[in-house]
Each structure stands twice: as C-alpha cells, then as structure tokens.
C-alpha cells in the first residue's frame, strides 16, 4: 500500500484556519499541521483533546511537597535532632514554620521540572532528536497541512486549491 500524503502550504494563519475548517467540513482527516508560531484556536479547529500537562504539574507539585515534608522530618527530627537556636526539634509540626521555605521551593522545583520533562517526552523533543517538519519554511512564515491520500488525490487537491493553499505537493511517505 502506498503511503501518499498531501502537503498543502499556506502563507497566512487566518487562511489556514479557514482551510482547516473547510477540510474538516468535507470530512477529511488532517494528519498534522505545522506552524511557525502558536495559532490560537487551531487545536480546537483540529479537534485536538485538551492537554493534561497542568494536571500532571499539580501532581508533581504534591510529590515535591511530600518529599520536602519527609526529608525535613527524617533529617531534622528523626535521624539527628539538634537544638538549633532553641527551635523545637522533637516534633515536625512544631518545627514546621522553619521548613515552609523548603516545602515551597521543592513543590515548585518538582512541579516545574517534571512537567517540562513530561512535555519533552510527550512531544518527543530532546537533544539530538531529528526535526520532523517536512518543509523548512514552516518555522519561518509558512503553515503546512498534511493529509493522507486514500485514492482521492484529485478531489483533495482541488479542495485544498480552493482553500487558498499557495503550494500543494503529493509526497510518498516512507
């Protein structure tokens, strides 16, 4: 089976948005859209599910907070309690006000870093990763829509032409 795809290039974000809506209305599946900057509303127009990264950040934050509580309790109260400035060293709760800065910083540290790592993993971006945008102009001023061809090349090309694409290429994807 051939893996033909159509690459339609646009040179304006508003034309792209209208094109996405038209292609969607014609019941074609858009595989991917590459854009040089975030186009607002594009994810909704494409029917992408909302991202859950904010929820993961919240959970990572809770992890960081728990870790900070465990660490301060283990190190300052259980393992080697010391009388420092007369601060209560026999109970974590009574010593807790001094630990608030640590608890806060570790919450932020865990939430921020683990969320960013999750983002990199989910979007498959990391050092030495090869870029996958099919046309170098998509990081400059062009917007590229990728649609799989299922014996409807002519029909699709005509539709895309109509939506204002500046360039249409049919490509064999391996």
């Amino acid at each position: 089976m051939s893996n033909k795809v159509i690459h339609a290039l646009y040179n304006d974000d508003d034309i792209l948005m209208d094109a996405v809506k038209k292609v969607k209305a014609a019941h074609h599946h858009i595989d991917e859209v590459f854009t040089p900057f975030p186009v607002h509303g594009l994810d909704k127009a494409l029917g992408l599910a909302p991202t859950k990264l904010a929820i993961t950040a919240f959970l990572y934050g809770l992890t960081g907070l728990s870790f900070a509580i465990w660490m301060t309790n283990y190190m300052m109260i259980e393992d080697w309690p010391q009388d420092i400035g007369g601060k209560p060293n026999f109970s974590w709760v009574e010593n807790m006000p001094a630990f608030v800065p640590i608890m806060f910083e570790l919450t932020v540290f865990f939430a921020a870093h683990l969320m960013v790592i999750t983002f990199y993993m989910r979007s498959r971006i990391w050092p030495f990763k090869e870029a996958e945008n099919p046309d170098v102009r998509t990081t400059d001023d062009h917007f590229l829509m990728e649609i799989s061809v299922h014996d409807n090349e002519k029909e699709l090309t005509a539709l895309l032409q109509e939506t204002g694409a500046v360039e249409i290429n049919v490509i064999d994807k391996h």
Binding site: A57, M71, M75, P101, E105, V108, F109, A111, D140
Partner: protein, 465 residues
Amino acid sequence: MSSHYEAPIREPLVLGDKSYHDITVDIAKPIEGKANKNWYIAFTISLIAFSWGIGCILYTIGTGIGVWGLNKNIGWAWDITNFVWWVGIGHAGTLISAVLLLFRQRWRMAINRSAEAMTIFAVFQAGLFPIIHMGRPWNAYWVLPIPNQFGSLWVNFNSPLLWDVFAISTYLSVSLVFWWTGLLPDFAMLRDRAIKPFQKKIYALLSFGWSGRAKDWQRFEEVSLVLAGLATPLVLSVHTIVSMDFATSINPGWHSTIFPPYFVAGAIFSGFAMVQTLLGVMRKVTNLENYITRLHVEYMNMVIMLTGGIVAVAYASEFFIAWYTGSPYENFTYMSVGAATGAYGWAFWSLILFNIAIPQLLWIKKIRVSFIGSFLISIAINIGMWFERFDIIAIVLSKGHLPSTWTRFEPTFVDVGVFIGTIGFFGVLFLLYARTFPVIAQAEVKSILKVSGENYKKLRDGSHE
C-alpha cells in the same frame, strides 16, 4: 479579522511594515551576520575584566579570605553586597516573562528573552560569591542534603542561609528551563535557515528537534502558562528568602519585618534598571529598533517608578521607626540620622541620590520615553541599588553594641577585582548570547503581529478615520 482587534488607542508594539518573514530575517540577522567593531571592543573589555576577576578569585582561594578587607566585626561586606545585588538584578527576567504573561501584557514579548538571559547570567554571578566566601569552595557540596561520613550530619533546615541554597538553585534551574523551552521554536527557525552545515548541526541540537506540530504548540502554551504560574510566587520567594538572611538575625537595622516585600520591590527595581541598560545598547547594536520601541522603554520605566516608589516608602518607614523607637542602637542602623551624619554619610547620601532622587525624573514624560535619559537613569539605579545593599550590610555591622569594637570596612584590590570580574563575566556571557541566540522571542512576536503591528493596526483603524 475581528479576532485580531486591538483598541486603536493602544500604540503599536511592532513598528514598520513587517511581515512574518521580515521578523525572521530581522531576528536572524545579528546571528548570521558578522560582529561589528563595537562588539569586539565590548567583548575584549569584558574578557579582560573577567580574567582579572578570575585572578582575584584564585588569589582569594589560594591565600584565604584574609586578602579581603573583612575584619572581626564586618564579616560580610562586598561579597554579600554583590551577591544580593546580582540576585536582585536577576529578578526582572522572570518577572517579565512570568508575571507579565499572567497579566497578558503583549509588550513583554520583545524583551522577555533578553531579560531572562540576563536573569540567568546574573544568578550565575550571584552564586559565585557565597561559594568563594566559603573559603574552601571544593566543599561547596556540603550545602546539599546528601548522606555523608559525619554521622550522617545533615544540613540545617532552620537556617535562612540553607533556604537560600534551595531558593536560588530552584530559581536558577526553573528560569533556565523556562527560557530554554521558549527558545526551542526560535532555535528551530535558525536551524531551518542555516546554510553552513556546522551551524545547522548546532542549532538542530539546541532546538531539540522542535517541529512545530499543532499538538506541540498546544502543550507549549500550556507549559508556558503553568511555568509562569509557578515562577511568579517563586520569583517573589527568592528575594524574600534573601532578605531573611538579614531579617531573621537580631541585629538592629536587620531585624525588620518589612524586609521581604521591601527587598522584592528593590530587586524588581534594580532588575528592570539593568534590563533598560542592556536593551538600550542592544537594540542599537542589533538593529532591533522596530521591536524594542519607545513604548517598551516607557512601560519599563513605569514599573521602575512603581517599585522605586515602594522602595522609597520602605526607606522612609525604616528611617521614621529608627527615630521613633528612641533606642540609641537604632541610631546606628543604615537608615538613621546617625548614618546620614556618620563616617558612612557619603554612602547614605549616594543611596538617597541614586535610588530616590534621580529616578523621580521619570515623572517627566519626555525623559520617560527618551532612550538616552532612561539609559542614564538606569545606570544611576544600578549604582544606587548596590549602595543600598552595602549600606544595609556595612553600616549596620560597623557599629555594634560595644563601642570599642566599632570599625570600618575598607575594600582591598581583591574585593574590587572580584566584583569587576563578575561584571566582566556577565558581559562576556551576555555578548556571546547576543551573537548566537535569537534575542527576541520571534515566534511570540509573530503571534501578536496582526494584533499590535503598526501596518496591521493602520489597515484596520484606517476605516474609522
């Protein structure tokens, strides 16, 4: 299109007849072109200062802290002054990128990249001072809570100095990933434009293979928003904790409950001044006058006026309370009649002049929108904020409860050298950054071009006139 509407009364943020491609070209130009003579001159000066600083640091480590001007009473002076000064400067970057993002301020997009770079480079400098001051910097890892052969003896989580370790390392690392995540699409732009294979390889590596899929952008925006939400309290916490180094002690003049908000305001004040200083030069050198405009300068000056006002009120209340307590000890603090008329009077009056008097000129609109005026005032604030920290530290420590121990601090050439060296190091980093990194978040600027671009605004608003 109606979704790009912005009130005509708002001045454009991108000047000239720009298209998306023009933005790409303008921002890639300083990187793809050759450096001019001024860049080499500035870089050479910075490198010399940096080398001198390295020499002074090595001398300090090799011989001992005794080569500094510290004495029994004034055990903290230039080192901690410089530390707080650099951390303070490091506050504007995250404030611009995080707080202004939450407030949906579009003008942040032209300056956030450089402000964040400044933040990261400034925090590097700040971090050097406590490590050098340890005397045995090879033991610096002792500040980390790691199991060891001493018992195991843990770090002291009751100490504000340890809170500092956590606050500053969290701040540095979170600012770094915030900055880098924002850089990915811009590195990708440079990668896709690069003609030389070596350049292409480097930017391909730096861009982490960013491709700009719709889903990537959706996640990118969510991550930026959540990072901004996390970084906003973080940036406030950092200088709060720095101020606790002083405020949790029991020295008159340091033991002050207003220190945290007052230090945070001062940090933003000095940070914005440094952004003004750097961008005033950078916009000229890199020909980015259409992106960093008078409007940006005026907005930054407004933030400077607000935070400078908070700082002025804090000084006034410290001064009043010192007098109002009637306590003779309070007359030896950095904000008192004693300080104004004592041996450190010159430092006291420098603070008042540079930090309070000169910035008041910004009330005049002509000066507020002037590049030269803003640049000169920002230099004054940089000096004034250094004196603030020096006054708080040296004046308070110079006169303790026992008059026979009263002393003065005289910096040695090593104190001066290390400080100059960090300015040089900062300059080296920033100049290298300006030649190799996209200094403006071009992807974000493109996304506001139709809203705030001069040509698009004219097209839209033309029909009303």
